[in-house]
Symmetry: C2
Subunit: 358 residues, 2 copies
């Protein structure tokens, strides 16, 4: 089965500051390395989706980097958004471009800055989801939760739809916003909830129909732009109409309200790599002292520490549970338990007018 892909490549990832900056967001960075997160997202689809069938939607300030990181993706497939309007318009417009190529196309939408340890399991889940999608469902890949994480949204499983070579698909009963710890614990214990990883598979035209119904204002503007796309009016219409779009996520705009939503559970080692602590966990998996080192480094009596270096030598002595990040102009030293609060530093720098550092 021929499959298309849309990869919305936006977001700043301030919690991975100072490596991640407004001018150099997380998806362009080599987490966990050596390839960037965006490159790894494309690599992970190799053999399933051809680069010429892959569409990237990104901001003006990142277009050059995206183009250089993905030389096999045709220039025409890299859509530059005049202004960021969230995942709804980005993925929706990708679906329209794909439908113009193949009216019956099955497509997946994949975040550009998530990490997946087990690509094989992920690919089997996407294949199963594509099977369900041919029946008209909007399908999401749900992640088997490993802990009561309060930073993710959850999906409640409904009835079984089918079995696909050992993977089952389910009707989605409900999407749940990020819960508190008590609720998250109950979700995980019930066995009826999955993490929402914002991975979607559907027929392009099924999504377009849902947009027409659920977010008609967005649909109308995207349709105008799509109609002008293969004409000489492309750039002018894009510049004029895109900024008029409403900022809406695909979850809020479509998935939470559509009736034909399905999910395929996958235990594929997914994480959104939302902060330094989670990057440390991904990198440290095999180290007995729980060290995660990406630097020239010497460690004396050092445990559970992430060092994300640049080109300087890093020495640590008698420390534990630290995140140490070295960049050309900024060094961060942070307790791992406080990794989520790194954005507070970014906010403070912005308040202080130190935008060059953010």
């Amino acid at each position: 089965m021929r499959m298309f892909a849309v990869i919305p490549a936006g977001g700043s990832g301030t919690r991975l500051w100072p490596a991640s900056r407004s001018a150099r967001p997380k998806f362009l960075l080599p987490f966990p390395g050596p390839r960037s997160m965006l490159q790894s997202t494309v690599d992970r689809l190799e053999g399933m989706v051809d680069p010429s069938d892959t569409f990237i939607l990104t901001g003006q300030q990142h277009a050059v980097s995206v183009g250089r990181q993905l030389p096999d993706v045709p220039e025409d497939n890299i859509v530059v958004e005049p202004e960021a309007r969230g995942s709804g318009p980005a993925i929706g417009f990708g679906a329209m471009l794909i439908a113009m190529r193949d009216p019956e196309a099955i497509m997946g939408s994949f975040a550009a800055d998530h990490f997946i340890a087990d690509a094989d399991t992920f690919r089997r889940a996407v294949t199963a989801a594509a099977d369900v999608a041919t029946r008209g469902y909007l399908v999401t890949i749900g992640i088997q939760p490993s802990r009561p994480e309060t930073g993710y949204g959850y999906i409640r499983l409904g009835d079984t739809i089918d079995n696909h070579n050992g993977l089952r698909s389910f009707v989605v009963e409900e999407f749940k916003e990020k819960p508190d710890l008590e609720t998250a614990t109950a979700y995980v214990e019930s066995g009826r909830y999955l993490w929402n990883a914002s991975i979607f598979v559907w027929r392009a035209k099924a999504l377009i129909e849902s947009m027409r119904e659920l977010i008609p204002d967005v649909f109308e503007i995207l349709k105008e732009i799509a109609d002008a796309w293969d004409t000489e009016r492309r750039d002018r219409v894009m510049q004029e109409r895109w900024p008029a779009l409403r900022d809406v996520t695909i979850d809020h705009g479509i998935m939470e309200h559509a009736r034909n939503v399905a999910v395929v559970p996958a235990d594929c080692g997914w994480t959104d790599l939302g902060d330094w602590n989670s990057l440390g966990e991904v990198l440290a998996e095999q180290d007995q002292d729980n060290l995660a080192i990406r630097a020239e480094h010497i460690a004396e009596d050092t445990r559970s520490t992430l060092v994300f270096g640049n080109n300087r030598f890093v020495a640590t002595l008698g420390v534990e549970n630290l995140v140490i990040v070295d960049t050309d102009d900024v060094i961060l030293v942070c307790d791992r338990s406080r990794a989520q609060d790194v954005r507070r530093i970014v906010q403070r720098l912005q308040r202080d007018g130190r935008d060059g550092l953010t």
Copy 2:
């Protein structure tokens, strides 16, 4: 009274790595800043010792830096040692050069890399010591101990010699090597011991006589070099004879064996600034969170931490009791309680052949 000074400027200070390097030792660095420790040593003597009466003895690899840091010290007063031979030959040779200028000269010898918070008290003690020195004593300034420090040598007080405008001088009964904690505690509680800060005042010719008696081999060679100093043979004799000198400290060679040793106690906020922790204490004196910051810095929930920066911005979040040092090529993150062990990292790098980093 005209007074001369000798400043032996050697030593590597590996415990202040990575700021301090073999090519850029502690005395050349701005601890605590903004002037270097060597510059501060000369500054502290202003009005007591003229720069033209100040002699620096240093190694070949530091001669250029010393000359640039001290433009007021005449070139002829900066003695470049072909090889390091310890404080005995360095101070002894300084005494010979001074005696050639003024046979009755009173001189002080001052370490180039110690910190003194209260320069006024220090200067009053040196003045009192000079008074005692005119009576033929080899005088040392002893520091009132503030804690049972095991990293310093101690001096046991004997009988009072005299009173000098409120400061007393004493005969020295004995020099004690670095003690264990129990011994150090007994020393401090007895009230009869001072820290040995390696600050000396004497008549140049009194030291020379002691050298002739106690370290005659060193005396003979230094005399040969001094006799050639004001001739065209200076450089040749220095190169040939200096390496033949025995490596001996002024304490072991002279002070511990001489009979005419006196001490003037001073409570002048002295520290040898032997590691990052003690630099942190000097810098943090006024800060309620015990922060010692020498960097562009943003601190969230950070306590008792020393940041010694370079030209990068440093952010800390949720950490305490750390030493963070940024240099062009190396970053150190160390628990303050382990500051003494920084030299272990330097040793390991040397074993690994990474001399460029040490």
